[in-house]
Symmetry: C2
Subunit: 209 residues, 2 copies
Amino acid sequence: MSGDRGPRRRRRPEEAEQAILAASRAFLEERPFREMTVEGVMVRTGLSRPAFYAYFRDRYEVVTRLLEGIGGLLFALDWRWLSGGEIEEEARDVLIEALRAGSRTFVEYGPVLRAIADAAGYDAKVEQVYRYGLIERLVAAVASRISRDVKAGLSPTDLEPQETARALVLMTERYLLDAFGRPERRPSRRESAAVFHTLEGIWVRTLYG
Amino acid sequence: MSGDRGPRRRRRPEEAEQAILAASRAFLEERPFREMTVEGVMVRTGLSRPAFYAYFRDRYEVVTRLLEGIGGLLFALDWRWLSGGEIEEEARDVLIEALRAGSRTFVEYGPVLRAIADAAGYDAKVEQVYRYGLIERLVAAVASRISRDVKAGLSPTDLEPQETARALVLMTERYLLDAFGRPERRPSRRESAAVFHTLEGIWVRTLYG
DNA sequence: TCTTGTTATTGACATAACGTCAATAGACAC
DNA sequence: GTGTCTATTGACGTTATGTCAATAACAAGA
C-alpha cells in the first residue's frame, strides 16, 4: 500500500523536533512557503500530521526557529563591521568583507531566507521576529557605523545614518533574496559575481563616494 | 438587527464590480492583506459573500486589478526618465524628478501597494504580475537609461546596467513600502522628506557619483 | 397594472487545511 | 512478565474557500 507508514516508531522528542525542522528545510529547498502545509512537511518525517503540534504551535513557529539558526550567521558581521578601521581604505575593505560574508549566507540559505521573508507577510508574529530580530538590528548596526564614519569625515555629512542604513539594508536583503532565494533558479557563478560586485559598488559609492 | 442587510438590491454588474474594488481598497487602508477575507470585503458592499465570485475569481484577482490601476502611474515616469537630458546636470534633475513622482505614488497608495507585494508571496499568479508587470518593467527601463549614461560617459563604466537597475529598483520598492506601506504608521512630513532625500542620495551617488 | 423573461443574488453544499484531545501503543524500568 | 510514562494518532470541530441550483429584482411589453 502507498499510505503504509509501517509500524509506529517512537523517537526522543529532541530527535523528532529536529526531524521536523530538517523536513521543513528540505521542503523549502524545493517549493515555496505558500505551498508548505503541515501535512506536506510531516509526510517527510514518517510521522502523522497531529504529531507536528506536539512540537510546534504552527508552521510559522517552525520558520521562526529556522531563522534563529541562520540569523546568527548574519550577525557575525556586526562586530567586524562595527570594529573596523578608521581610515577610508580600511573602512571600505571591512565593508566589502562584511558584504561578502552576508552574501555567502544568502547563497547557502537563500530559499529558507526567502521562505521566512514570505512568511513575514503571512503572520504577524513572524513579521515581528523578522523585522525587529533581524532587519532592524542590522539597520541599527549599520547606522551606528555610518554615524561614526560621518563624524570621522569618511562619509558625506548630508547622509542621514538611520535612513541610509535602512535603505541599504533593505536593498541588500531584497536584492539577495531575488538573486538567491528562488528554489528553481540557481544563478551561475558568473551571475553571482555580478550581484556581489553591484552590491559593493552601491554601498561603497553611497558611503565612501 | 445587526445582521439585517435590508431588502435585496440589484445593481448593474459594472457598479457591483466597482463596489467590490472600492471595498477591497478601503479594507486594505485599515488592515493588512493577510486579514483580508472575501467575507470581510463583501460585508462592506452590502452584498453576500458568494456574490463576490460572480465578479472575481478570488481575492488575488482583486489585488491584481488594483495593481493595474496604480501600475500605470508608476510608468508615467518611464518616458520622462528615458527621454531625459544628455548632460549630467540634466540627467540628475530628471532622475530626481522621476523619484519624486514615484515616491508620491507610494505615499498615496502605500497600503494598497504593500498589500499587492504581500499577495505576491501568497499567489503565483500575483507574483508573476507583480514581478513581470511592474518590477521587471521598471528594471528594464532603468537599465536602459543607465546603459545610455554609461556610454555617454555620465556614469562609471564598471556599472552593470541590468544588475544595478535591479538593485536600485528593489531598494526603492522595499524602502518606500517600509516607509509608506503600513496602514497603522503614517510618517510625518519631516520623516517623508528624509526618506526622499536618502533615496535621491543613493541613486545620484551610485549613478552620477 | 399585470405578466414575463432575464440575470443579479444568495442559501446550501462540498472541500481543504487547520488545531485539539482523548485514546492508543512503543519503550524502558523493575 | 508487568506496569508506567509519554510519543503518537484517529477522529472531531472550525474556518475559509469556491460552486451551483434556486430565488427574486428589475425592465419591457401587454
